[in-house]
């Protein structure tokens, strides 16, 4: 059961920075306060996604890895 979110990005199988860029494009279409789910399997997202969120003021609500899939939840600034 996935956590409630307003939009989801499936970046599975891609390598950074593609997941971050896909998150950026999704966030550009979202309203402040909405939650974005990012699915990825490149471990670099553990570093790159929080760094990008920090730079742009978005809040990382959670990052969890289950088997190969890393699920990140971001609240849009």
């Amino acid at each position: 059961m996935s956590t409630p979110h307003d939009r989801s990005v499936d970046a599975l199988g891609t390598w950074c920075p593609v997941p971050v860029t896909m998150a950026r494009d999704a966030v550009a279409r979202m309203a402040p306060g909405e939650v974005l789910e990012v699915l990825a399997d490149d471990p670099m997202v553990f570093l790159d996604l929080p760094a990008w969120c920090h730079d742009h003021g978005h809040e990382v609500l959670s990052m969890e890895q289950r088997r190969d899939v890393i699920t990140s939840l971001i609240r849009v600034r």
Binding site: D10, A11, L12, G13, T14, V18, P19, R67, D68
Partner: protein, 395 residues
């Protein structure tokens, strides 16, 4: 060319489809760029995305454009199993599946896993119960792979069979597999049926292979439709194109042409199918009047629209096709995939056709614009070719 009856290879392009190709060939600007020249191509791709995914009724983001259906098959099978994290895949298909699906399955199971092939009846049909049993547990195996009792990771269902025209009850097959083996990915190969038959909700499959040809688009165009929530890894890795699932620059003219063709096919589907079925009936009647000729595959009302495959005693299919070509009639030998290999079609062999009949097969495929005059010419050329070749054979 006096008669074109090789729609199994390529369709003549409709005027609106050709106009899209020409329009975007003349346009400079990548759809991924930030400037004004990107706007047109980006909007053309968005429009095509909506028109193509409408075949299954899924959201616009559920389509990945590919360079033809063969790439889409590779993406579905390799990308689906990769995203599922399967190292030793068990794949279920049938011997009538497209050769590229079988090649991918054999490659992926070369060192570990297994390929199981479902039996087919003499008309090429797969039983839902037998497919489900095979997916859930064990069954006849491809000779090249070891035995296993593991449930299937992926099942390939071929909606329409290109050589013999068999149409599977894909929805029933997918439902049976889903009930018996809920975790298996289901790939529906709809290359031969897209635009001709409804594909609502992907007929229950997770991934749907689309080819441009039967929509009336160039044969090098295609797409993979992805059920919402289905996980997939890219086959061609690169950047952001196609949601990261298919890297590389977009074929804007091809995608725009595919979208236009999908739009026209949806609007015109019933009339096209009616005309193509009538062509099948006319062709079959004329061809079967040649003594010693038999129809391979299902009866005309039950086979792919526009499709007829026949075998005539005492002749080789390739020789007949060449003789007809010399008279200006375009047809195919029975199997494009084994053409030139000196082998009978494995599809016809799997259906239990005798070797001689399999080698003599010739495929005629009509389209919605095929004329009565073309069919008359084709039937006459076939009769003449068969008679001439039989006359040259030793008694």
């Amino acid at each position: 060319m006096t008669a074109y009856l090789d729609h199994a290879s390529a369709w003549p392009l409709a005027e609106a489809v050709r106009a899209e190709l020409e329009r975007w060939n003349a346009h400079v600007g990548s759809p991924m760029a930030l400037h004004e020249a990107a706007r047109g191509p980006a909007e053309a791709i968005d429009a095509a995305r909506r028109d193509v995914v409408a075949l299954a009724g899924w959201p616009a983001e559920c389509v990945i454009f590919t360079a033809g259906p063969t790439e889409a098959r590779n993406l579905a099978i390799k990308g689906g199993l990769s995203a599922a994290g399967v190292d030793a895949p068990v794949i279920v298909a049938d011997p009538l599946a497209h050769s590229s699906s079988l090649a991918v399955a054999r490659t992926l199971t070369r060192r570990a896993g297994a390929l199981r092939l479902a039996p087919v009846d003499p008309l090429g049909r797969v039983s839902p119960a037998e497919l489900a049993t095979l997916a859930a547990s064990n069954g006849p195996l491809d000779v090249a792979t070891p035995e296993t009792t593991t449930p299937a990771d992926l099942v390939v269902i071929t909606h329409g069979q290109a050589e013999v025209g068999t149409i599977q009850d894909a929805a029933a097959l997918a439902a049976a597999v889903r009930a018996a083996c809920p975790d298996a990915l289901i790939v529906l190969d709809a290359e031969e049926t897209a635009g001709l038959m409804p594909l609502d909700d992907g007929l229950g499959a997770d991934l749907v292979v689309i080819g441009g040809r039967t929509l009336g688009a160039p044969p090098w165009t295609g797409a993979l439709l992805v059920r919402p929530g289905t996980r997939l890894h890219p086959l061609v890795e690169g950047g952001l194109e196609e949601g990261g699932k298919r890297g590389g620059a977009h074929d804007v003219p091809g995608i725009a042409a595919l979208g236009m063709a999908a739009r026209e096919a949806r609007a015109d589907r019933v009339a096209r199918v009616e005309r193509m079925r009538a062509c099948s009936a006319t062709l079959a009647e004329g061809l079967l009047a040649v003594p010693g000729t038999r129809l391979n595959g299902p009866a005309v009302p039950d086979r792919l629209p526009g499709h007829v495959q026949v075998s005539a005693e005492g002749v080789e299919g390739e020789a007949v096709a060449l003789a007809m070509a010399a008279r200006g009639v375009a047809v195919s030998p029975g199997s494009a995939c084994t053409f030139g290999a000196g082998k009978a079609s494995p599809v016809l062999e799997a259906m239990g056709l005798a070797d001689e009949a399999a080698r003599s097969a010739v495929l005629l495929t009509a389209g919605p614009a095929t004329t009565d005059a073309e069919m008359d010419e084709a039937v006459a050329a076939y009769a003449e070719a068969v008679a001439s070749l039989r006359g040259m054979s030793p008694a």
